[in-house]
Symmetry: C2
Subunit: 322 residues, 2 copies
């Protein structure tokens, strides 16, 4: 199947994703308009994804679509912002045909329904290189209430949602590393399809002092919070939530591997002791498990402590893009 | 010179571009915050640029930086929006080193000063393919006053700023097409370095009924306005502003070539007769020439008329990306 021209792709395939957003002007204008807000403000984030770096060449269109959108929604979730809109820049190699774009768009449509967002603009170009996407996501948050990275305070408790390390194990499996485990498909799915914690994120406004999503790795992302906040963090290795599948996959290394591999898209945050009740009910209502994994102290940096409080040397503090 | 890690590139090279925007949070957070507005609203646009498609592999870093930013500012200008912020996603092939990134960033800094904008976020990744950029630009416009593509009305006059066709001739020269002309460098510079009409664009609010920037080509972009507005446009070939250099370069074909080649980044707009005084003073104050090139009638489509009102057949209505 051939590929239609740029204008017909936008009109026929992408414009239906914009119908719920009047400010998108049916994707027929040079810019989109954001609705005026009262008492709330816009948070904006932008991530790029490249074939061969953030996903694999043979990954199906539906997973590429969803991952690209979801990693951006995860950034908004970490800020307590409610996702509203996104813009998409798509640079398409010659092998991509209309059928691929149709699948891609219909999976975006499915995620739009799940997360309550709409497409409002973007760009579609050719590329002589790998498939490259960039999404800009916009969400709203109560004025002055965005959960930042620099708000952690001495005495806060450190939390993480769900469990970490499954996505990293899934990526290792796709690369042919590690050992065979029965949960192979679950681990790979976790790498390919993040579950952004948007419901819990919005509920953490006023409860969490600082938050980030776990994209580079738990220790790396908490380290960013410690760094931005001018505090020190102590994380208890034994309390880091790691699934039996990840333990089976990595063996003795499992906790360090899980704490330093990326792509989990869980939320890591700090909150005062006093927020316990609100925090627990927020997690319960969002249907997300919460683990208390450490504490914020004075000083700087982050340390992963073995039982007996010995620091565990970390060969790698999470994924670096280059 | 080697390339530093992602975090050090952001902190050392890009964070200085964000110092004037408190909402950028020093590029250290997962999202940026847009300031609250009163009586104005946000317009947002996003363009991707790919090496080998939108610029050439040997184009210098400074021109790539400026072109990427300016094509987005041009979209805002066409909407009458005042540019305020931008986000940048940069996918870097291995050959790009810190020195390249430094040059790239310092040229963005220079354009930030010219256009009054600041970086507020983005992403930096590796790519196994060509250098790929995406910029999302945000501007403000008086509430309800954005100049759209669908506002052209029967009886409007059609205008274009500056002159068209120089960028197209510059691109042809870079590809080794066309004939040698003494203005070679001027034409190439016009292709490589657009001059977004941001001052005039903001002044056209309340004066123009519809506007687009000339990126696909004068006839193609005016055709989009005609299409979105449900009107017909008649453009007089003899009144299309084409420089002597373009006439010398293309010879007898010059006007059709100029009207159907892209990358001019002039503003093409329609306005009622009654707006003449305001429009002329806006153009004078912005230091931009304005040409009256046609009129809006009832019907649909766009036609380029030779003297004697014969329609000129157009082999190609401007550049299509694929």
């Amino acid at each position: 199947m051939a590929r239609s021209g740029e204008f017909s792709v936008i009109r026929n395939i992408f414009a239906p994703l914009a119908v719920r957003a009047p400010g998108a002007l049916a994707l027929r204008d040079d810019a989109a308009l954001l609705p005026a807000l009262t008492g709330r403000e816009w948070a904006v984030t932008k991530d790029a994804l490249v074939e061969g770096v953030h996903f694999l060449k043979n990954d199906p269109a539906d997973l590429i679509a969803r991952k690209s959108l979801r990693v951006n929604l995860s950034d908004l979730a970490a800020k307590g912002a409610k996702p509203e809109f996104y813009l998409l820049a798509l640079s398409l190699p010659a092998w991509i045909d209309d059928a691929w774009i149709q699948t891609f768009a219909s999976c975006l449509a499915a995620d739009q329904d799940i997360f309550g967002v709409a497409l409002i603009g973007g760009d579609t170009t050719a590329t002589p290189g790998p498939l490259t996407l960039s999404i800009t996501a916009l969400g709203t948050v109560a004025e002055g209430k965005m959960i930042r990275r620099d708000g952690a305070r001495e005495g806060d408790i450190v939390f993480v949602t769900g469990s970490v390390g499954e996505a990293g194990a899934g990526l290792a499996l796709l690369k042919g590393e590690g050992r065979a485990v029965p949960e192979r498909d679950v681990l790979i799915a976790r790498y390919r399809l993040p579950e952004p914690r948007v419901v819990l994120g919005a509920r953490l406004v006023g409860l969490a002092h600082a938050c980030a999503d776990v994209s580079d790795g738990l220790i790396a992302d908490l380290g960013h919070i410690a760094d931005a906040s001018g505090v020190r963090m102590e994380i208890d290795a034994a309390r880091v939530p790691v699934s039996p599948a990840v333990k089976a996959f990595w063996g003795a290394d499992a906790i360090v591997r899980a704490a330093t591999s990326g792509d989990d898209y869980e939320l890591a945050f700090t909150a005062p002791q006093s927020a316990r009740a609100g925090r627990d009910s927020a997690a319960r209502e969002a249907g997300v498990a919460l683990s208390e994994i450490g504490r914020v102290t004075s000083g700087s940096g982050i340390v992963l402590l073995a039982e007996g409080s010995q620091p565990i040397p970390l060969a790698s503090w999470g994924f670096r893009h280059f």
